[in-house]
């Protein structure tokens, strides 16, 4: 489930953000408890707790005392605009680098994208 080449708490946070972006977790949905998460994914509960704490810090989740953690109402919109900002730097630029390496010009890419419209 998790790989050990980056901290698991970050992988947990990314996974939950993806679930929110794809809509499998919606506004005000309750997420798993730390212990449920730890038992399900077979990881130390402190590691899971750190992942959730990160999401609370970022405002993606909010806590209800004694009940659990829930998806913040503004999380989907906020996450989408963050990802949109990173899209060109993290997705398009590496693609252009690879295109340059294999000799594909920007015109060729534009034609291709035009055909997909």
């Amino acid at each position: 489930m998790f790989h050990d080449r980056s901290p698991i708490y970050l992988q947990i946070a990314d996974g939950i953000k993806n679930d929110i972006l794809t809509g499998s977790l919606r506004e005000d949905d309750q997420v798993m408890s730390t212990n449920q998460y730890a038992a399900f994914y077979r990881i130390n509960p402190a590691t899971a707790a750190k992942g959730f704490a990160q999401l609370v810090d970022e405002g993606v989740l909010y806590k209800r005392r004694g009940i659990g953690m829930f998806v913040s109402p503004d999380a989907p919109g906020k996450l989408r605009s963050e990802r949109r900002q990173r899209f060109f730097a993290e997705v398009v630029e590496p693609m252009l680098d690879e295109a340059k390496r294999v000799g594909i010009g920007v015109d060729e890419i534009t034609d291709y994208l035009g055909s997909r419209r």
Binding site: D4, S6, A39, I43, N44, T47, K50
Partner: protein, 293 residues
């Protein structure tokens, strides 16, 4: 809180544990890693108060641990020898453990024995290596001791039995939080269970940190030799490899993401290191011939 202060253990002129200071918050799962002969078992013996350190002290909740009955009752130390009589039957061993320990859960011991398909009518001497280890795991987990120490308790267990062991360890810890110290060489298969990792090397604590902080801490940089060398300036180099004009260096990170992005644009390739590889790099420095003092 468990504290080791300047703990040294010497056997004649051989120093097995060399001035170790460790502060261990309770209700945490620790992984103790180290190569053969690095001092793990000696350190655990002192932690369990089975052995008086040659120097230094072990304090459990502020109390001196050695020959302290209040501390001893709260510790379960499972080591290779199992500390049971070979001629006894498994069920007698379990019954004795129940008499000696207030926290013993006989139902849980029975459940674990069933799970491992351990024949409790057998004498300890008739158990295979793997079955001895299973008995150790049953004794360790069912004791529910506030400090449970499992020293390479997986020896001889097959992959299925080890998986059952790890699953039970985590599930029982979730329902009964306690301090568990587990020494192992099988880092990759169990590291996800450790909140913290302690790495010993030649009698000293090389590292004590959150397990998660070690994931991705080591990074391998590969590319044209001159570029790689320039990039590595200012970083601790854990390993190196060269072939023709290509050089690969393993660095003790973590690295600044901006530096990595710049390096990638220059044609360097980066690969993060898993915990086991990091451990190998950290502990494979050549050993001095004279290990005594």
């Amino acid at each position: 809180m468990i504290e080791m202060r300047g703990v040294t253990i010497a056997y004649g002129r051989t120093v097995a544990v060399d001035g170790v200071d460790l502060t261990l918050p309770v209700n945490t799962i620790y992984g103790l890693l180290g190569r053969n002969g690095s001092g793990k078992t000696s350190l655990l013996s002192a932690l369990a108060s089975y052995r008086r350190p040659s120097a230094g002290t072990v304090l459990v909740d502020g109390e001196e641990a050695f020959e302290n009955p209040r501390v001893a009752r709260r510790v379960s130390f499972i080591r290779d020898t199992l500390d049971v009589s070979d001629s006894e039957r498994v069920r007698c061993v379990l019954r004795t453990a129940g008499r000696l320990r207030a926290t013993w859960d006989a139902d849980y011991a029975a459940k674990l024995s069933d799970m491992f398909e351990l024949d409790t009518r057998k004498r300890v001497s008739a158990l295979s290596r793997g079955q001895r280890s299973m008995l150790g795991v049953v004794l360790g987990l069912a004791s529910r001791a506030p400090l449970t120490i499992l020293d390479e308790s997986y020896l001889g267990m097959d992959a299925v039995a080890r998986t059952l062991f790890y699953r039970e360890l985590l599930d029982d810890y979730l329902s009964h939080p306690r301090t568990i110290v587990l020494s192992t060489h099988l880092i990759e298969e169990v590291a996800d269970l450790f909140e913290r990792v302690i790495i010993m090397d030649r009698g000293r604590v090389l590292l004590h940190d959150e397990t998660d902080a070690l994931r991705g801490r080591g990074v391998t940089v590969t590319g044209p030799a001159a570029l790689v060398t320039a990039f590595a300036a200012g970083h601790t180099v854990l390993g190196e490899q060269s072939l023709g004009g290509v050089r690969a260096l393993t660095l003790d990170g973590p690295l600044d993401p901006d530096d990595v992005a710049r390096g990638e644009r220059d044609g360097l390739a980066f690969g993060p290191l898993g915990i086991q590889d990091l451990f190998v790099h950290l502990t494979s420095q050549p050993r001095p011939l004279e290990a005594t003092r």
